[in-house]
Symmetry: C2
């Protein structure tokens, strides 16, 4: 199934981990549109392996709210509607704001330089129109920041929100011209250099709002 991009199969990775990584990646990038129907056996065939590891991978993704396991024997990529979307974005604001705040004391010049480089790579991805790279770099940017705090239980939850937004977010990205979007990461970086938490947090919230909330709601309501 060409809908599920391949991912490098690291040595030592079990088949189950490989299946999980591949499905997760496909969902994060929006390769599977909302509502896509899936079957265990279909996925097994698509990935050329047996149903057993697929079932474990799908159970994991189900626990992360990335796949709906309907009572009748059908799996599907969750649908999106305006109410759910709004709750997801509001939760993103709360959770990522919290994570940023708890990570802030761990900021260093080395890390800020690293984040600056990631942001530059994003500019390049936008210029190339490479939406997959843009998505991955954006997530890497945020994840690097939140992960500075070595004990951050919010990180898996934030990734769960990304998984839930992934399929729909791709449709949002396709609905407007990303080259004209304001890059709030630059404001965040400036605030980081000044070690100003309040300003950084506001820039982060603007980033989340501009990046998905407004365009997403427009798509869902109109």
């Amino acid at each position: 199934m060409s809908q599920i991009p391949d991912v490098p199969h690291d040595a030592g990775l079990t088949v189950q981990d490989y299946a999980y990584a591949r499905l997760r990646n496909a969902i994060l990038l929006g390769a599977l549109p909302p509502g896509t129907a899936l079957t265990f056996r279909g996925l097994a065939e698509a990935l050329s392996l047996s149903p057993t590891p697929i079932r474990e991978a799908v159970r994991r993704l189900h626990s992360e709210q990335a796949i709906d396991v309907l009572g009748n024997r059908r799996l599907q990529v969750p649908q999106m509607d305006a109410a759910r979307f709004e709750e997801l974005v509001r939760l993103r604001l709360t959770l990522e704001g919290h994570a940023a705040e708890r990570a802030f004391p761990w900021l260093s010049d080395v890390v800020i330089d690293e984040l600056t480089a990631t942001d530059l790579a994003m500019d390049s991805a936008v210029a190339r129109g490479d939406l997959d790279a843009l998505t991955q770099l954006n997530q890497a940017f945020h994840k690097r920041l939140y992960g500075l705090n070595p004990n951050q239980p919010a990180l898996p939850m934030i990734e769960s929100i990304w998984l839930q937004l992934g399929p729909f977010q791709r449709q949002v990205l396709n609905s407007y011209d990303v080259t004209i979007a304001k890059d709030h990461h630059k404001e965040m970086l400036a605030a980081m250099r000044a070690r100003d938490l309040t300003v950084m947090r506001r820039a982060l919230e603007d980033d989340i709002r501009d990046g998905s909330m407004d365009a997403g709601l427009r798509l869902l309501r109109g």
Copy 2:
């Protein structure tokens, strides 16, 4: 294995769902202390079923951060330390505050009466010294409130935190006399009746802090 309390096996439930429910319950109630080592085959034997559904159940719990899957072939109930504990409680404060706020407009007199009844049942559980019932009723109280909002993606995340705190929380509960603890639920209920979000949220935060943070940190730091 008597360490894993049985749970009712509803009709129509698959073996995998049953295994998940039972392990989840055991962890939530603290029946498995932090650091407990587990094996797939051992769990399968303890629950009298084959390894296949156990593996799926454990993968789900791993995705919810309730079980550590170490690279070497060992599973264990996560350990607790002061840094992780503090992050978990802070995240609880943020997430449950958010969920309460998003649920608040859905409050009704009927629901408030229901919550009042649950709180009374908690008083009774405290009087009986029934810590399992106390834990379950407390979670039911919070879950009922947050779940009023029909689209609440924070709920699974809050339950994930409870799963992470469960094993240690039981040790906290055993470390002091619960009969002398202040019942912040009564303040929350009064604020709900007055439809005062600010006061309710403060009472909720006091509830979380008094219920675990202080006693927990005391236990971890000696």
